[in-house]
C-alpha cells in the first residue's frame, strides 16, 4: 500500500497526464469550430470531473460520519430558526440520521458491556475521525481542482465566447459550489472542538452537495452559453483517446493527493485527541472542556 502511494500512483499520474496531454496537443485534430483552442478540453474537463468526484467523496464521508457518530449530532437544532423549507428538510434528515445512529449505538452498548463497550466506542471514534479526515481531504482537493477547472474554463471562454466570464447557469452554479467548499474549509479552521467541527462541517458538506447535481445538469436544464458536457459520448472519436488518458491521469493524481492529505488530517486528529483537555488550575472544572471558540 505504501509503495502504491509513494511510487505507483504518482508515476502513473505523471505518465498518463503527460501522454494524454501530448496526444491532445500534438496528435488529436483541431475542432471544426474552435480550432486549436479546443485542446483546452484535455485539461479542463478532467479537472472538473475530478473536482466533482472529490466533492462527492466529501458528501459520502460527511453522511457516513453523521451516521457513525449519532450521539454528537444532537448539536444540530431539531427546530431550525429559519423558515426555509430546504433548511428544515436538511435539519430533519440530519436529526433522523442522528436518532437512527444513536439507537443503533445504544443497542450495541447493551450487547457489549464493560471494557468491550469502551473498546467498541474507541474503535467507533477512530472510524469517525477517519471519515472526517476523508471529508476534509476531499473538500480541499476538490476546491483546488475546481478552481483550476474554473480558471481554465474562463480562459477557454475568452476566444470562444468573447468574454472571460458570463453569468451562465453552469458558471454561476460552479462559482457557488466553490464558495460553499471555501466556507466549509473556513468553518473547519474556526471551530476548535473536533466533535463540533466534524458535525457542523458534515452538515455544510451535505448542504453543499445539493448543488452538485445542479452544476452537473445545469447545461441540460438551461441551454445557454456553456456547451453540454464533453464526454467520450459527446466528442469526436478522435478526441476520445487523449480525453480518456488525461482523465485517468487526473484520477491517479486525485488519489495521490487524497492519500497524502488524509494522512495529514489523521495526524492532526490524533494530535488533538492526545492533547490534555486543560492544565490543572487553568480552567475552572465547571466549564466545559475542549470548548470551541465559536460555540
Amino acid at each position: 500500500m505504501k509503495r502504491l502511494m509513494k511510487w505507483v500512483l504518482p508515476v502513473a499520474a505523471v505518465v498518463l497526464l503527460g501522454a494524454g496531454w501530448y496526444v491532445g496537443l500534438a496528435v488529436a485534430p483541431p475542432d471544426r469550430e474552435m480550432g486549436d483552442v479546443q485542446r483546452i478540453m484535455y485539461v479542463h474537463v478532467p479537472l472538473q470531473w475530478m473536482a466533482m468526484m472529490a466533492m462527492f467523496i466529501n458528501f459520502v464521508a460527511a453522511v457516513a460520519y453523521l451516521l457513525s457518530s449519532g450521539g454528537n449530532v444532537g448539536t444540530v437544532s431539531a427546530k431550525p430558526r429559519s423558515s426555509s423549507p430546504l433548511v428544515s428538510l436538511l435539519a430533519l434528515v440530519v436529526n433522523l440520521m442522528a436518532w437512527v445512529a444513536h439507537i443503533l449505538k445504544s443497542g450495541w452498548g447493551l450487547l457489549m458491556p464493560g471494557s468491550k463497550e469502551d473498546e467498541a466506542r474507541a474503535k467507533q471514534d477512530e472510524s469517525g475521525w477517519k471519515l472526517d479526515s476523508v471529508a476534509e481531504a476531499s473538500a480541499e482537493i476538490g476546491l483546488v481542482l475546481g478552481t483550476a477547472g474554473m480558471i481554465t474554463g474562463s480562459i477557454w471562454g475568452r476566444p470562444t465566447w468573447g468574454v472571460y466570464w458570463s453569468w451562465d447557469p453552469r458558471l454561476t452554479s460552479e462559482a457557488i459550489m466553490l464558495v460553499t467548499y471555501m466556507g466549509y474549509l473556513v468553518l473547519r479552521r474556526f471551530v476548535e472542538d473536533p466533535d463540533k467541527r466534524a458535525t457542523w462541517s458534515s452538515a455544510v458538506a451535505i448542504l453543499g452537495a445539493i448543488n452538485l447535481p445542479i452544476v452537473w445538469f445545469s447545461v441540460r436544464w438551461w441551454r445557454s452559453l456553456h456547451q453540454v458536457q464533453s464526454s467520450p459520448r459527446t466528442v469526436d472519436p478522435a478526441m476520445v483517446l487523449p480525453l480518456r488518458i488525461s482523465a485517468f491521469g487526473m484520477l491517479a493524481l486525485l488519489l495521490v493527493f487524497l492519500g497524502y492529505r488524509y494522512r495529514q488530517a489523521m495526524a492532526e486528529r490524533r494530535a488533538e485527541m492526545a492533547l490534555p483537555d486543560a492544565l490543572p488550575g487553568d480552567v475552572p472544572s465547571s466549564l466545559p472542556q475542549n470548548s470551541s471558540k465559536v460555540a
Binding site: 488529436a28 485534430p29 483541431p30 471544426r32 474552435m34 480550432g35 478552481t147 478522435a238 495529514q264
Partner: protein, 61 residues
C-alpha cells in the same frame, strides 16, 4: 467498443479531414491553461509535502 489502437489511428487520420477550425490561432490560451494547471498542481503538491506529518521541527521534540 473501440480499442486504443483504432482510436489512435482515428486521431492521426482526422487532421487531414478537418480544417484548422473557424477560430484561428489561440495557442496562447492553450499554453496558459496547461501552464496554470501545472503550476497549481505543483504548488499544491509542494504544500502537501511541507505539511506532511513530522515535517515540522516542533513535532520531533
Amino acid at each position: 467498443m473501440m480499442t486504443l489502437s483504432s482510436l489512435m489511428l482515428l486521431a492521426q487520420a482526422a487532421p487531414g479531414q478537418v480544417g484548422s477550425g473557424r477560430i484561428q490561432g489561440g495557442w496562447g490560451y492553450v499554453w496558459a491553461c496547461y501552464g496554470i494547471t501545472l503550476a497549481m498542481l505543483a504548488l499544491y503538491a509542494v504544500s502537501l509535502w511541507v505539511r506532511r506529518p513530522g515535517a515540522s521541527p516542533d513535532a520531533k521534540e
